[in-house]
């Protein structure tokens, strides 16, 4: 399949536009000098990813992504930024001094993965576009074949919940201790 053929399919235009957006957002996440901008660019990346999921007939996953990731996680991040009193403006000292090695490593990772992908799958086509994956299917799968991982993940969430609270709990100051005791 030549590039001309590929670009003639409207799906691929959409893909192209969304992937450019995702890539740019992702790039800005790791290179932005502004802390909050970085978090927000993550939102952009995640949104674009959701769009890609739609293209791949994974509607439920796309929606979960938006709900959980964007809706909760990024908010959590913003809270974390605010609580750690990170400077909300332009901050020069955000990146490490030596960027060469990480860049090389990242490039190496990309190249290796890309090459092995291309080498393995070449010009394979995804055929099932257009027919959405039914949520019923996912539900049945989750509680059917994957019920144990499902339960385990809920334990993980519980542990994370308790753990989070425990870790982040503030010890009472002696004054507050006295107040509580007196009361």
């Amino acid at each position: 399949m030549t590039f001309a053929d590929w670009i003639s399919q409207p799906v691929n235009w959409v893909f192209l536009i969304i992937s450019v957006a995702v890539l740019v957002s992702g790039f800005r996440v790791v290179t932005s000098k502004n802390l909050v901008h970085a978090a927000l660019f993550l939102v952009g990346a995640l949104a674009g990813t959701a769009g890609l999921f739609l293209l791949l007939s994974a509607e439920f996953v796309a929606w979960v992504l938006v709900l959980v990731y964007i809706g909760a996680v990024v908010v959590l991040f913003l809270f974390g930024i605010m609580i750690t009193r990170a400077p909300t403006g332009f901050d020069e000292g955000l990146d490490a001094d030596h960027k060469a090695m990480p860049a090389i490593l990242a490039a190496g990772v990309f190249l290796m993965m890309a090459w092995s992908s291309v080498d393995a799958f070449g010009a394979e086509l995804i055929s099932s576009t257009g027919s959405p994956t039914s949520t019923e299917l996912i539900g049945e799968s989750l509680l059917g074949r994957f019920v144990i991982p499902f339960e385990v993940v809920s334990f993980v969430l519980l542990a994370a919940l308790i753990g989070g609270i425990t870790i982040a709990r503030r010890d009472l100051t002696p004054l507050e201790e006295e107040e509580r005791g007196a009361v």
């Binding site: 490490a96 990480p102 490593l105 190496g108 990772v109 290796m112 092995s116």
Partner: protein
Amino acid sequence: MVSAVFKLALIAAEEGEHVEVRAGDGGFWADTAGIMLVLPVIAFLVILVVGKRMKYKGGEIAVAALAINLVWASALFILNATGGVIDQTTFEIGRIGSGLVFELGWLVDGLSILMFWLVNFVGLLVFIYALGYMHGDRRVDWFFAAFSLFAGAMLILVGAPNLIQLIIGWEGVGLASYFLIGFYWEDLANVKAGNKAFMVNKLADVGLVLGAILVGVALGTWDFGAIDLAAFAGNAELAAVAGVGGLLLFIGAMGKSAQFPFHIWLPDAMAGPTPVSALMHAATMVTAGIYLMARLFPLFEYMASNVRTIMIVIGTITLFGVGLLAIVANDIKKVLAYSTVSQLGYMMTALAAGGYTAGLFHLFTHAAFKALLFLCAGSVIHAVHSNNMSDMGGLRKYTPTTFWTWIVGALALSGIGLSGFWSKDEILGTLSQSGYEAVMWISVAGAFVTAFYMARATFLTFFGTYKGEGEPHESPKIMTVPLVILAVPSALMGVLNIPGLTYGRVQNFTEWLSVRLVPMGDHHAETIDWGLAIIGLAAALLGVLVGYVIYFKDAETQLERDSFEVPLLFPLLRKKYYIDDLALGIVGLFTGPFARFVNWTNTYVIDSIPNAIGGSVKALGGFVYGILDQKGVDGVFNGLSAATDGAGSVVRKWQTGRVQQYAASFVAGALILVALFVFVI
């Protein structure tokens, strides 16, 4: 064992070779005369062992030895006086090839008998005196030991039958002299005086030994009898070496008998105790040179006549020049020392002029009165505790015995009436008879000088007022009795040799002396030459008079005595003609650089080997320690630990504690592994 030589002489006599052996062989006394030579040496050893514990610290043994010796000496003397003794006993010690023979033993003839008697008699008196003089002093036992050694060596010298034994005795007296001059060695000056005496004598002894070798090798024997016979008979081999050999032997005699310029040791030798000065440096040791000349008189008389000219010149210089030095001496012993040298000059001059009897007679009278004068000086020093005449004066009141015996000795020395007069007169007679008129007049002048300085010494010491503190006291009897005894021969010995006078069977001194294997052929007067006698006496009296004028009057009135001065001459005399400075300078030229050269050789050449060995061993040790052990062995271990340490310090820097670095390492590692799997496997 009767020697072959004596037999030779007898044979020669029997065959009528102009040799008159008109003597007996001395019998028992001559055969055992060797006991005189040996006894003092045994006394020396005994005193060294037991002397400390005895009351007089070994002095008793020394006195006993000489007393026993005196018995033999007296017996031999009587035998010689009444008939003459010639005998020789020798024992062969070694042999060179078929020719030269080394013998030790004793020779008994007129000359040696008289010398035996002199040494033992004067020695005994001096020893008794020393018992008192040295009492309470330090190292008295060593004193008597060394003194006995000296007496033994002198007797060995005098009784020597050949040149070899004479040299042995010669060195022996030199050794004893060294010990005794440096007796008070705590004082460096005394040690230096002893060294000086020994060294000057050693220098002269070169001549002695060379001369002896020359004569012995030429003639094939060292025996005195053989030499006498050969000289008398005009032996050709001996005649060839007689000149040089005689001169060399004379040089040896110059050293011992302090002839100019070897006289420099004798004044310094006064550093020894006074008995030593009395016996050794007046009566006996210094006369050894004269004795040698007398013993070899036939050699000089019949063969080496030209040496005698040199002898006369030196003797004359000695008697006059050194005599002058006595005028400016302040130390009483130094006056007597210079006087001794001067009188030795007289003796040497007399012998050189052919006066065998004259010279020897003067030797004997001199021994008596000079020993007496020295002992008086010792008595005076003992009373005043000082040697210097400037500390004395008026002692005539305090020490009368010493004073009168001194007067006897002084008159004898000056040649006024007593024994010295006769012996000096004999010398003058010999000189004029041999045709040495000039020398005779110089001797007369010398007599004037002698009287002058003796007068000076007498007046400064015994007259006037005492310059010291307190009251000096007379010496104890043990010291004054020998003085009195010695005064007798000093006064009366002259009668033994009045020319032309003999005493029946005993004859006179001349005859006693002439008992030798060959006739001496010397000139001696048969009658008194009154002209010479008066001249000599007049010179002496003039000297006394001038001395009286200058010193007696001054002594009474002036506080500062001895201020008489002859410009130019006296300063020169005080510097002793600069001879001492010259000698020290010459020696100093050699000793300094030589000593430094020897020291350099020792340090750099001789020590270099042990130093090098030591240094290399040290370096080796240092190498083994520093390099092999420290750097090599330890280096390996140190290196290992350092390498480990270094590796650790490099590796631990990987643990930066920074998470992102760890993450980067993960990624890199993962990348590599994956690449490995993808591309390789």
